[in-house]
Point group: C2
Chain length 276, copies 2
């Protein structure tokens, strides 16, 4: 039995993603209100595995989760991509003419922005979670409130789906990272089978410093699949770089990392895992 | 008299930024609810200048504004950096023991996240704007509601400041871009005085494709100050690159852009302007 810490309730996208990633395995979910609590659960019990969204094709990267991951001391052991669909739902006795506000996670609200613009009378209220908003409405029996969540969560909590598939863009995918304590990582993914790594480093603001790093990765035939510069908190307009790379040869990849270390500051390997 | 379209009310951060950028000039503000409306105002009247936040040291890039800028056909003619501070405020007769919810722009809510965690009983409600939330509470006389905004806005709307300087991180700066119709750009900034450009392009997913582009920029002594990869909507896991570069020699910079065009797809210069 694996114990998985997720952000969100039963029925949340993290729940769905965890069950897809660990298909066929018995899971015990630790449902957390915040991503901070996901990493806190792992700190308190190193046998707990964490699963956290890291980017979405519409909303972009979840910057705060990058920061939590970097500070957590955990290692990325896998990734999962999930197709995201949203519905709007309410108590069975409510309907379009009786609802006055809509609750959901900020990212879900952003992903249904155009849809919600057609319903300007609905007050938009941020919640911790998509499925949690559905649960809160069902359990608190909040008349006049709607939630935005996956249709599975609406069903689970006995809510009426007013409309399904309300996401603005149908090409809506979220990428999740699976993390564990470093000493547990090799049990979860044999390192020799890894072909992708997530790395973070900072660079001095000198002409061509990023170019040199990427040139070396290219010389070693390491493929870059993502780059994200982030402001360093407390140092305005200096940037951290979050980079994802893929490789066929683990040794060659390790040599490439060794080769860029002298040109970077504070390089940290967030994890090596199997690309999907 | 310059006419400036901003997102937000009088007293908003955009208002403060506009008056700092165009210091000493007479301005007529066009206050818009959304960034879409800012660009719509410019489309309807090409003499209107737009000002829009593009990144923040805490929240990162405003991805949606990058998209709007790219699609708008307007040109960036300048940038401005503003130090952001927040207060929490309410009606004069309210106090900590009588407020039950807090309204503000999602970015302001994110920037005061740790502060708000110490007030878990406050319901967090998204609004269009920081100063707009203050205005709404003052004009609607909403008892029990608080707003998060700049202390100037609280004062402007006659609200009581419960606490000032509540932003989690004191190094909180927002960068704004000033945009205009291309035919008006040279009146607003002589091109020959420009030393910074914002560029967007996409790249095929081939090993070393970004490395080649950055190497060329480096060979031409063009300095990279920011890079941001964004998922292309509708093409999962392919990325657009938003890049800021600085240069001392306009001709050399133009030659560098010519040199990278054949290696990129859909390259577009968003604007050339004076770095601050």
């Amino acid at each position: 039995m694996k114990r998985i810490a997720i952000q969100g309730e039963i029925g949340s996208f993290h729940d769905i993603a965890a069950h897809q990633y660990f298909e066929g395995e018995q899971l015990q979910l630790i449902c957390c209100n915040t991503f901070e609590q996901v990493y806190e659960s792992m700190r308190q019990d190193p046998t707990v595995i964490g699963m956290a969204a890291i980017e979405n094709t519409i909303a972009g990267s979840l910057l705060h989760n990058y920061e939590l991951l970097r500070d957590s001391g955990t290692t990325v052991v896998g990734e999962h991509k999930l197709h995201i669909t949203h519905c709007i739902c309410c108590l069975p006795e409510d309907d379009w003419d009786t609802i006055s506000e809509v609750h959901s996670h900020p990212v879900a609200l952003m992903q249904t922005r155009h849809y919600l613009e057609h319903h300007p009378n609905l007050r938009i209220v941020e919640g911790d979670d998509t499925a949690g908003s559905a649960k809160m409405i069902a359990e608190g029996h909040h008349k006049g409130w709607a939630a935005i969540c996956h249709a599975e969560a609406a069903k689970l909590y006995g809510l009426k789906v007013l409309e399904n598939g309300i996401e603005d863009n149908k090409h809506n995918y979220t990428r999740f990272l699976v993390c564990s304590a470093p000493q547990k990582a090799d049990m979860l993914r044999p390192l020799v089978e890894s072909n992708k790594a997530s790395i973070v480093f900072s660079l001095p603001h000198e002409e061509g410093s990023l170019s040199a790093v990427l040139a070396i990765l290219s010389f070693y035939k390491i493929n870059l699949t993502k780059i994200q510069s982030l402001p360093i908190i407390g140092k305005e307009w200096e940037y951290l770089f979050y980079v994802d790379v893929t490789y066929n040869d683990l040794t060659r990849y390790r040599q490439a990392v060794d080769a860029i270390i002298p040109l970077t500051r504070d390089l940290k390997i967030l994890g090596e895992y199997r690309a999907i």
